[in-house]
Amino acid sequence: MRPAVSALACALLVAGLAALPLFVGGYGQGVLVGLMNAVVLASAWALFSGPTKYVSLATVAFFGIGAYTVAVLTETMPFGAILAVAGAIGVAVALLVGLATLRLAGVYFVIFSFGLAELVRQIITWFETSVNRTLGRYIFIDLSATAIYWMLLALAVAVIGTRWLIERGRLGLAVHAIGDDEIVARHAGVDVTKVKLALFALSALAMTLAGAIQAPRWTYVEPSIVFNPNISFTALIMALLGGATRLWGPVFGAVPLFFFFEWLSVTMPGQFSIVLGLTFIVIVFLVPNGVLDLAEKGLRKTRGPNAGDARHV
């Protein structure tokens, strides 16, 4: 597609998505918020973990930090300022943690990132119960579901737009090379640690803002709600289903899986975790590189072996 046509198609898509809540009721608006949250989290996860292949289970750590910052600062300052503070905390934690851990490779990083989420949850739980003598907090910020949806839509556009910009430039070459072979990237002159850290912080910023933007919808938050590990797992599965190394992969994974998980939580609430695990296994076995990769391989078979470029969106 020509760039002008692509830009117009994207603008029409965003305008259409922005208009959607005006045509549905309260339940529909709630579904739209959940759907856009899934798109943001899967895209933010893939922003860092997709090309670098550092599988992170820390999504919920940042999501929860965002939500809890709103809960702590509610009624102390305007919502926009609270979002800025939450984002700054998310980025600070990501930089701190990233500096210490991004040297870890493979399974060690996965375990660490999972441990980080649990650590943050336990620290907040301890602080709330020991110092504040309470577990949950109430949030009194009056924001409609539509306003929250629009903010999440803007965040999704920002995350996908950032990824698009990265993929177009020399940074895109660096992150894919890091995912393939860090030694190659280093010897080509890439400051691997700096690139990984920058991407991890960007991804964490989006996750933190996603949690902060949605916090007013819950009215009441406690660590077990906003630090639920399923948030990390579902973001990862969604990105993998679509294809984490591709620009639109996380969106293609997030939309069907969001509706599948919604249906699951209504029809089989007791077996949700079991089916979640099974879904993960099925995706890893059947479409390890995502459905977009599968579709492209099919296309290449019909067009010939050298069709297309090596790095895709």
Binding site: R186, H187, A188, D191, N306, D309
Partner: protein, 240 residues
Amino acid sequence: MFEIRGLSKRFGGLQAVKAVDFDLAEGEVVGLLGPNGSGKTTVMNLISGVFPANGGSIRLGGRRLDGLPAHRIAKEGVSRTFQLVRLAPSLSVRQNVLLSLSFGARPVSGREAERRADEALSRVGLEGVGDARVPDLNYIDQKRVELARAVATRPRLLLLDEWLAGLNPTELRAAIALVGSLRDDGATILLVEHIMEAVRALCPRSIVMRAGEKIADGPTAEVLNDRRVVEAYLGGAAHV
């Protein structure tokens, strides 16, 4: 131009490189020889910053390289190939070359980078395959991509680690001619190699290592007839 003094590296109880000294003049092509396990690749890895040295110094044009991370050493003008080909398979052939042009010494971008990448690819005999996927190339062509990535930045020092290994006789002749053309253009090259035909053709001077130590350094023909070098390659049999 390039100077190594007292370079040492220890892995646990193993002294892999022991107080190695040598110099390279600008435009010189030098063979780094020795039996397996003699420390040649470790020296290459120390120069390019894969791991830090335990002692000694490495200088390029007066600037110290030892202690710098690999990406800073690349920016100082040191490029290398690896014993086993290392490329980024998710990038196209041209993008692999663009990677070093974008981040290496004197980075370039945009059309200039594309032009330089295609120039490097045509230099190694890969004209017109810039858009190909790396896994679709055969072994020798993957080696060529690696060489194109290394030479595209016009490095001050090029490290070739057994770049000629695994080639058939026809490919070997073509590869020797290719490295020879780099030498003719004035590149300074340190070449780790087991193929003596290539060493004789390309390197007027050679350095030989055994068990981490430098045991000979001089004109290649003389070095290869040196008693200690023959012993190093043939062991005790050289005496009988």
